[in-house]
């Protein structure tokens, strides 16, 4: 009692090491998914870190695109997707259905 066996100590160290790696990974770029469904971008407003990837997936019956001020995705048929790495705040819409709007905000 009171003495930690080497095997247990190794296990604790391993857990700490894995936990440390996981924390590091949390700082890595992430991928966020925006679903296009029922003629909306869901979520409509998405907050991400600079360098993260945002992926749009069209789940609607009809074709959509993701259109920014300076560029736009190809037309996305049902089931198709489009992804970009983001570094700035951006507003976008579907240029085929301009009533559909979305926003990306970069965390400070």
């Amino acid at each position: 009692m009171g003495v930690i066996k080497p095997q247990v100590l190794l296990c604790i160290l391993a857990v700490l090491l894995i936990s440390s790696c996981t924390s590091h990974k949390n700082g890595d770029p992430k991928t966020h998914v925006v679903e296009i469904k029922q003629m909306s971008f869901v979520p409509k407003k998405l907050t991400v870190s600079s360098g993260d990837t945002v992926k749009w997936v069209n789940l609607d019956l009809v074709t959509h695109n993701v259109s920014f001020q300076d560029r736009k995705s190809p037309k996305l048929e049902q089931g198709e997707q489009f992804a970009i790495v983001v570094s700035d705040n951006a507003e976008y819409r579907c240029s085929l259905h301009p009533v559909m709007e979305g926003q990306i905000l970069i965390k400070n």
Binding site: Q38, M39, S40, D60, L61, V62, T63, S95, L96, H97
Partner: protein, 184 residues
């Protein structure tokens, strides 16, 4: 209960189609089976595709042309889905009084639109699109959905509603621009 439902149909048809100048009172008390609902769905979409094709010939205004292109793309996709589903279910879309009336009215509308000059056409087309989408949305919600028995056909009709509502909003935005500055 059935009588009440029939009265409701009459009110709905008077409300929706009188706004379009199209009275369907004579058919208002009918109940439609799934094959008939499928035919109405296909025809209603085909009509808007044909009207949009006319818009592409007559209009030179980019916003109207973009809208017409979207109508062709979206309604063609819905027609294909409806046809695929009918085939899967082994249902042959069946002509009926409402789909025939829709086709008759569409012929008259296209004839009216063809006679318009370019500027007047844009306004008339967008006004028509606003009224047509309102009428189709009301008809799906209040007549077709309650009549439809097959769950997949019901899902398709429900799935189409958000697109129709987005089209309506888009058409109203263009209509307001016309009203604001008369630039079309």
């Amino acid at each position: 209960m059935l009588a009440l439902k029939n009265q409701l149909y009459i009110l709905i048809f008077v409300f929706t189609f009188s706004a379009m100048g199209n009275s369907l009172l004579a058919q208002s008390s009918e109940k439609f089976n799934d094959a008939e609902v499928a035919h109405i769905a296909v025809i209603a979409n085909k009509i808007d595709v044909e009207t949009a094709k006319l818009a592409k010939k007559k209009s030179e205004q980019s916003e109207v042309l973009d809208f017409a292109n979207t109508m062709i793309s979206d309604h063609t996709a819905v027609i294909q889905k409806a046809k695929d589903l009918a085939e899967k279910l082994g249902v042959k879309p069946q002509k009926n009084s409402l789909s025939k009336k829709l086709m008759e009215d569409a012929r008259k509308t296209r004839s009216m639109l063809r006679k318009k000059s370019a500027g007047a056409f844009n306004k008339a087309y967008i006004n028509h699109e606003v009224q047509y989408h309102k009428a189709v949305i009301n008809t799906i919600e209040d007549v077709l959905l309650p009549d439809t028995e097959n769950a997949e056909l019901k899902d398709l009709l429900e799935g189409v509603l958000p697109a129709l509502k987005a089209h309506l909003k888009q058409a109203k935005n263009i209509q307001n621009k016309v009203a604001d500055n008369g630039r079309y």
